[in-house]
């Protein structure tokens, strides 16, 4: 039986899961995943062990009779990441269908900025991930682990199975009209992962793409909208960023649907967290969404998904 794709999470962790999934899908690189002897991409659901994500002190223990904490070697605390995974899809039919993971990492390490794994670890809290499995890894941190929205697992698998053609199409978007036309179709097509990758390619290479943006944003279902907002804030060419900010702001001021505003908020929140160069625009968009939510009288207090989003905002 598959573990729950995402076990119930407290609000702040649920927000971090959403933000990380937005970031990870939006930044996914097909070239990171391949099929070779002893190596394959795998989409899997993670089931962390009970203490995964907790700290421990290697070699230390509590002496039961005295209650003393024995830490002879004065090790520093480490965080445990351990559990099992169960594959939903794999590139190679010979790849294992399940496995275990187990490693530790320093609880504190010199860190200049937070990586997505620092804010939400599916290896500690659960989730659906795409990773590059290697037979030699033996429980070590999987390579290129990207958190997916659980329902996007099949889309990721389909995109990877078609990666040769998809990669070529996306690479030619800026230079070949047929590729651009195909990418434009992908953006509104059924595969949300391909749509996100196509949106990113068009954003970076296609003149005038911003003019098409309002229609594309309005058609997008919420999670796709989150990734489009993230990309609009972080991946637009420098010369286009101001226009994209205006496009996104207009989407906010014109929207009356709470779930779409929430989706845009998730995209902006992820951009503020993980793309420092876009943080100012992302926070401005988040604050605009907050204003719109208040104006529409949408409940945003305790028990709502909005509370964690706006907890640290003025």
């Amino acid at each position: 039986m598959l573990p729950d794709a995402v076990p119930p999470l407290p609000p702040t962790e649920a927000l971090m899961h959403e933000a990380r999934a937005v970031h990870d899908v939006a930044t996914l690189q097909l070239s990171d995943y391949r099929i070779q002897a002893g190596s394959s991409w795998i989409v899997a659901t993670l089931a962390p062990a009970a203490d995964s994500g907790a700290a421990t002190i290697p070699g230390a223990y509590v002496e039961a009779e005295t209650g003393q904490l024995v830490n002879v070697d004065q090790h520093e605390p480490v965080v445990m990441k351990q559990g099992r995974w169960q594959a939903q899809a794999a590139g190679d039919a010979q790849a294992p269908t399940q496995g275990r993971y187990a490693w530790t990492e320093p609880m504190d390490r010199p860190m200049r900025k937070l990586a997505p794994e620092d804010l939400y670890s599916p290896f500690a809290h659960g989730g659906t991930v795409l990773f590059q499995w290697r037979a030699s890894d033996d429980g070590a941190p999987p390579r290129h682990a990207h958190l997916l929205f659980p329902e996007w697992a099949p889309y990721a698998a389909q995109a990877l199975r078609a990666s040769a053609h998809l990669s070529q199409t996306l690479a030619e978007v800026g230079a070949a009209a047929p590729a651009r036309a195909e990418a434009t179709q992908l953006v509104v097509g059924p595969n949300a992962v391909s749509a996100t990758l196509a949106f990113r390619a068009l954003l970076g290479a296609a003149d005038g793409f911003a003019a098409q943006a309002p229609a594309l944003l309005e058609q997008a279902e919420p999670r796709r909208l989150s990734t489009f907002v993230y990309l609009g804030l972080t991946a637009a060419p420098a010369t286009d960023r101001a226009r994209w900010s205006q496009v996104l702001s207009r989407q906010v001021t014109q929207s009356t649907q709470p779930e779409r505003l929430l989706a845009m908020a998730h995209g902006a929140y992820a951009a503020a967290l993980f793309a420092s160069e876009a943080q100012a625009h992302a926070l401005a968009l988040l604050d605009a969404i907050h204003t719109r939510v208040r104006a529409l009288g949408i409940a945003s207090g305790a028990g709502t998904p909005w509370q964690a989003l706006f907890a640290n905002r003025p």
């Binding site: 971090m16 907790a54 003393q68 904490l69 605390p77 420092s276 640290n312």
Partner: protein, 374 residues
């Protein structure tokens, strides 16, 4: 006779940087002098002077320099440094006098001593801290955002001159002290199978882990961007705009970066062992609080991208004193004003983040006793 600055005939590079006060240092510019109508009958003793006092030859005490100029027209070398800044281009004058400082003037050459003014370092306090998942963080905002500015003077400096072209305005930060603590409590057991009902185990009621910087000042940097706090185009770059040309040069802009210390606060799990060394289970502690007490000093600096030398122009102090268990808004505080530098930046390692992560600088302190009963 003729004099060349930077050993070239072009006047586009007749510049020397004013001395740096913090840290004390002088950038030397090579120069040369020769007779223009050789052969002279014999070598000439020349005394170089600088009536306006903007130059030195090259040390502080060297207000003049005596040079022997060959008779055959070959060059004689000397060096200059900048003592005080020019008010206008080419207002520093080198005079070459015959034999003594008051002898006949054989040649003159103008130089510009460039310097920096309008230096500012802003520390803009960002988001308040809150517990988000396993982190105590101001996310999605930063704890503080930095903005550094400075202007090159006098107006009209040729920013393409070799003495100027590699200079950028940047940001350098030092740790003045740090104490980071995490406290765990509320122990809860998980018993191994076969442990008898009624088994009693004493465990610490709480555990506190404290990391501290030893006394002293440490560079808050990292190997790829050192000696600065941040640089663009490196693997560990925070802000791609962290180095910028000074105001007065093309493409000038404020140098920016940010800081966002976000300690982790996971639960703590420890095995429980009986006297025979057998594990009877584990005890899990919840995180009660995490606190960060950090002091920083940050500078706007002129940074030479080829030599990695820095010169501090302006400084500001800021603190981060936040506690997840405290009441009230928890955020950084910054000094109301920046000031002229009062101390030399520490530019070398070891870096503060590495020192505080040294196990030798941590203490784990259990307190109290709680009895757990199977």
């Amino acid at each position: 006779m003729e004099i060349e600055i930077n050993n070239t005939s072009t006047a586009d590079d007749d510049y020397v940087q004013v001395q740096c006060l913090r840290p004390a240092g002088r950038k030397r510019v090579p120069c040369r002098i020769r007779v223009t109508t050789p052969p002279a009958t014999q070598a000439t003793t020349v005394v170089l002077t600088n009536p306006d006092g903007r130059l030195r030859f090259p040390a502080t005490a060297n207000t003049t320099a005596t040079v022997t100029v060959p008779s055959d027209g070959s060059w004689a070398a000397f060096e200059i440094t900048g003592e005080t800044g020019s008010a206008a281009l080419n207002d520093a004058v080198i005079e070459a006098h015959c034999n003594t400082a008051t002898g006949a003037t054989l040649a003159t050459k103008t130089v510009t001593v460039f310097w920096f003014d309008n230096a500012t370092i802003a520390v803009n306090v960002g988001g308040p801290y809150s517990v988000q998942g396993n982190r105590y963080t101001p996310a999605p905002a930063n704890a503080v955002n930095y903005v550094a500015n400075a202007r090159i003077r006098p107006a009209g400096v040729n920013c393409a001159a070799p003495q100027v072209a590699n200079l950028r305005i940047g940001i350098l930060q030092n740790n003045l002290g740090a104490v980071h603590a995490v406290t765990w409590s509320a122990p809860a057991p998980t018993w191994n199978a076969g442990v008898a009902v009624g088994t009693r185990v004493d465990v610490p009621t709480s555990v506190r882990r404290t990391r501290s910087l030893p006394a002293g000042t440490f560079n808050d940097s990292e190997a790829q961007v050192a000696p600065l706090y941040d640089q663009p185009g490196k693997g560990s770059t925070l802000d791609p705009n962290s180095l910028q040309p000074p105001t007065g040069c093309p493409a000038a802009a404020a140098a920016t970066s940010f800081d966002s210390p976000s300690p982790t606060m996971p639960p703590l799990v420890l095995p429980m062992q009986n006297g025979a060394g057998v594990n009877v289970g584990s005890v899990r502690y919840n995180t009660v609080s995490t606190s960060t007490v950090d002091g920083f000093i940050i500078w706007t600096v002129v940074f030479n991208t080829t030599t990695n030398e820095v010169c501090a122009l302006r400084q500001r102090l800021w603190d981060l004193n936040v506690d997840s268990a405290a009441v009230g808004v928890q955020q950084a505080t910054a000094a109301a004003t920046d000031t002229a530098p009062t101390q030399d930046p520490v530019t070398a390692g070891p870096f503060g983040n590495n020192v505080i992560n040294d196990p030798a600088n941590q203490v784990i302190t259990p307190t109290g006793t709680t009895t757990l009963i199977r």
